[in-house]
């Protein structure tokens, strides 16, 4: 009899544990209709009034965005948020994995580079119906900026800010030594500056090491080329890729480029960028190849008393090379249980002056003109500098942005980083690096 009981008990337990697995879905679905008070604790995508917002970024952005989420849930009782932020690289891993599990966050920060891929795989919702029914007000956004978030006639992403490539530099250091930086330097002028600064101050230069993908495109633009064409590279020979690698070869040979070894010890992040982080001039850089909106973050990460300046990336033909980049899009995903609420939040994020008074253009110049104007008095001098840079330095002297990069771009960017690395470790020459990029790159482009 005892045995029978034990057997029954075991059976019952097994069945119960199975039942628990099977029913969890229906339970969370019924949760959605429960009173809102209990939902914050329940969490997850199953909750209709619980929105998950994900972005990549830096400390400044994380704090400001989180503050806006808090503000929104204060003003809209019943809406709770889970703000998830990670660094750029991890962000895309996380998003891809989540998409496979059909558990994408409700609102995701989207990049120009990935937009097409996510839309063509049906992971983002078309915002057009919400614009038409008035949930999402885009009347204040310039047509061309709105256009940048559209694919095949649908609008899938709203830009949160306009940026441009920007060379951020240690102004305090250069002022002390009477070195002046002017906008629109040519490549030779830039290299001369690197030499001069190394000689006078001991500070080295980091030419977008490990992150050279945008810079190589920028250099190619300057000579009227693009990196990616349909199914192939946009250059005809390795020779055209060589100038990019030449900079590293010269820099390593003459000693003014930072040692590649220091990057093994850090993450590629604003906080550990050699412009703000390092134990001696030997391991630091006087400049960083960044984006205009990152001035605030770099300034915040900089040690006490270091003022950061902003200028253009060097190019022989600045007008052809430079461009405005609508960036840091927000998209609503197909996995959102309540897209309506997500869109309402998106509307608040771009149109509310109150929200943007917190964000203060950290993601770039706000796309809604009236909002951009309204927040101007609140901006710090640094942030005003960024707006001035966009409006007066880049806008009058730039060309339209390249089309979005294809799917295989990520692999090519990695190849560029690897070649850059081998070059800086002295394993290959600039010519060999260019040759390999041309051959391997063409193969990758053809294969996908």
């Amino acid at each position: 009899m005892k045995r029978k009981l034990a057997l029954l008990l075991a059976l019952v337990l097994t069945v119960m544990s199975l039942a628990a697995c099977g029913s969890s879905k229906t339970e969370s679905a019924s949760d959605a209709t429960a009173p809102t008070e209990t939902q914050g604790a329940a969490g997850g995508n199953g909750d209709s009034k619980h929105l998950i917002v994900a972005w990549w970024g830096n400390q400044t952005r994380n704090e400001r965005t989180q503050a806006v989420l808090d503000l929104y849930s204060q003003q809209n009782p019943g809406i709770t948020f889970d703000g998830q932020f990670v660094e750029w690289n991890d962000y895309w891993n996380k998003l891809a994995t989540a998409s496979a599990g059909h558990s994408l966050p409700d609102v995701v920060q989207m990049d120009y580079r990935y937009l097409e891929q996510y839309v063509s795989n049906g992971l983002l919702i078309d915002l057009k119906p919400y614009i038409e029914n008035g949930t999402l007000d885009v009347s204040g956004i310039d047509e061309s900026i709105l256009e940048s978030g559209s694919v095949d006639g649908g609008i899938y992403a709203i830009s949160l800010g306009v940026n441009a490539p920007a060379l951020l530099y240690n102004k305090t250091l250069l002022d002390e030594h009477g070195i002046e930086i002017k906008d629109n330097m040519t490549m030779d002028e830039f290299i001369d500056k690197c030499r001069e600064i190394y000689e006078k101050t001991g500070y080295k230069t980091n030419v977008a090491y490990g992150n050279g993908d945008n810079f190589i495109e920028y250099m190619l633009r300057s000579s009227g080329k693009i990196l990616f064409e349909e199914g192939k590279l946009g250059v005809d020979s390795a020779e055209e890729l060589k100038p990019f690698f030449d900079i590293y070869e010269i820099g390593m040979k003459e000693g003014w480029h930072v040692d590649p070894g220091i990057f093994v010890e850090r993450n590629i992040s604003v906080e550990q960028e050699p412009i703000v982080y390092g134990s001696s001039p030997e391991t630091m850089s006087w400049c960083a190849f960044y984006w205009s909106n990152q001035l605030t973050a770099v300034q915040n990460a900089a040690p006490e008393g270091m003022e950061i300046g902003i200028t253009t990336w060097p190019a022989d033909n600045p007008k052809a090379a430079n461009y405005l980049r609508p960036s840091q899009f927000f998209s609503v995903t197909v996995d959102s249980k309540n897209p309506e609420e997500a869109v309402k939040f998106l509307n608040f994020f771009i149109n509310s002056v109150e929200a943007n008074n917190i964000l203060l253009g950290e993601r770039g110049v706000p796309p809604v003109a009236s909002v951009a104007e309204a927040i101007t008095p609140q901006l710090s001098d640094q942030e005003k500098l960024v707006i001035d840079y966009i409006n007066n330095v880049v806008t009058p002297n730039s060309s339209p942005i390249n089309p979005p990069a294809p799917d295989s771009a990520v692999e090519i960017f990695d190849l560029i980083d690897k070649l850059e690395e081998r070059l800086c470790y002295g394993e290959i020459t600039a010519a060999e690096a260019a040759q390999e990029l041309f051959e391997q790159g063409s193969k990758i482009m053809a294969g996908n």
């Binding site: 075991a10 059976l11 891809a96 040692d259 220091i262 010890e265 990695d414």
Partner: protein
């Protein structure tokens, strides 16, 4: 009624039935969370799959690409073999030495055993990896210590392609605790009569170790070797957190490369194929280890 309860009783009397029912939760979990995902990944390995869109059948394409075009694949295999074949023997030697030292019971042995065991629990964690990265940075503790004894203290251990892998090996060797415990347990199994007899015959401690301790420990060494070898090949966290394969892929573990292909380049089908090749490699190595067993492992005269 009677016949029914009898038949139930009969079933109950079958120990295999009760056993099967008790193991059912594990079996279900094993099938659901091990076998099913493995089969799915086997399927993916024959597909073009990028996570975002549905997989498309591609035959042996991924496997062919791996062995004909992918130099990084070979590089990462080389790194992984180097890591496993250097760190595992070192770890076992270290574990055995410490086990011999801690074998004699004194007041503090309990404490020391726990203290030396600790790294093998926490050593694989992200926090320790980050700590390790800081310790071996140019301005880290390790260089500071070298500075105190007057050695060159500006060396970039992680930035140099010859030394970076050793930072990871040292971290792996440091986690000798679990092997040490197993050694300790089997040291206690060795009958003291053997040592007494050896002493009577005039053998010194050194030859006692070589003639008695080591031969009798070979089954344990074998077990540790197999287990640690498998762990060595599956090492991921150290490389992923500390170096990400840098510099120049000199620390690119196979598992990290697999992860990069799957989740960074979105070549998930290719990543799955890499995983199956890894399985084959580990199986082969385990097989080879077992094949050599009869030459050096003491089998207690069975």
């Amino acid at each position: 009624m009677k016949s029914k309860s009898l038949s139930l009783k009969q079933i109950l009397n079958e120990e295999s039935v009760a056993g099967a029912i008790f193991t059912l939760p594990f079996i279900i979990g094993f099938l659901l969370f091990m076998i099913v995902p493995m089969l799915i990944s086997l399927y993916y390995s024959f597909c073009d799959y990028n996570i975002l869109s549905p997989p498309v059948w591609a035959g042996f394409k991924n496997y062919i690409k791996m062995f004909t075009e992918d130099s990084t694949f070979l590089k990462s295999i080389g790194v992984t073999f180097y890591f496993a074949f250097v760190s595992v023997p070192l770890r076992l030697i270290f574990a055995l030495i410490v086990a011999m030292i801690l074998f004699r019971t004194t007041k503090m042995t309990g404490f020391y055993r726990a203290a030396y065991y600790l790294p093998s629990i926490i050593g694989g964690s992200v926090a320790v990896s980050i700590l390790w990265k800081r310790m071996f940075a140019i301005d880290g503790v390790f260089n500071k210590l070298l500075g105190y004894i007057g050695l060159n203290k500006d060396f970039s251990w992680l930035g140099n392609k010859d030394t970076a892998i050793w930072v990871l090996i040292v971290l792996a060797v440091w986690q000798f605790g679990s092997s040490m415990l197993i050694f300790l347990a089997s040291l206690k199994q060795i009958p003291t009569t053997l040592y007494e007899a050896a002493e009577v015959d005039g053998a010194n401690k050194w030859s006692q170790f070589w003639k008695i301790t080591l031969p009798l420990l070979t089954p344990t060494i074998f077990f540790n070797l197999v287990m640690q070898m498998i762990n060595g090949f599956l090492a991921f966290t150290q490389s992923y957190i500390i170096t990400q394969g840098k510099p120049m892929n000199s620390t690119l573990f196979y598992t990290v490369y697999m992860y990069q292909q799957s989740f960074e380049f979105y070549n998930t089908g290719y990543g799955a194929a890499l995983a199956w090749v890894m399985l084959a490699i580990i199986a082969l190595i385990t097989f080879v280890l077992f094949a050599t067993k009869k030459f050096w492992v003491y089998d207690e005269g069975v």
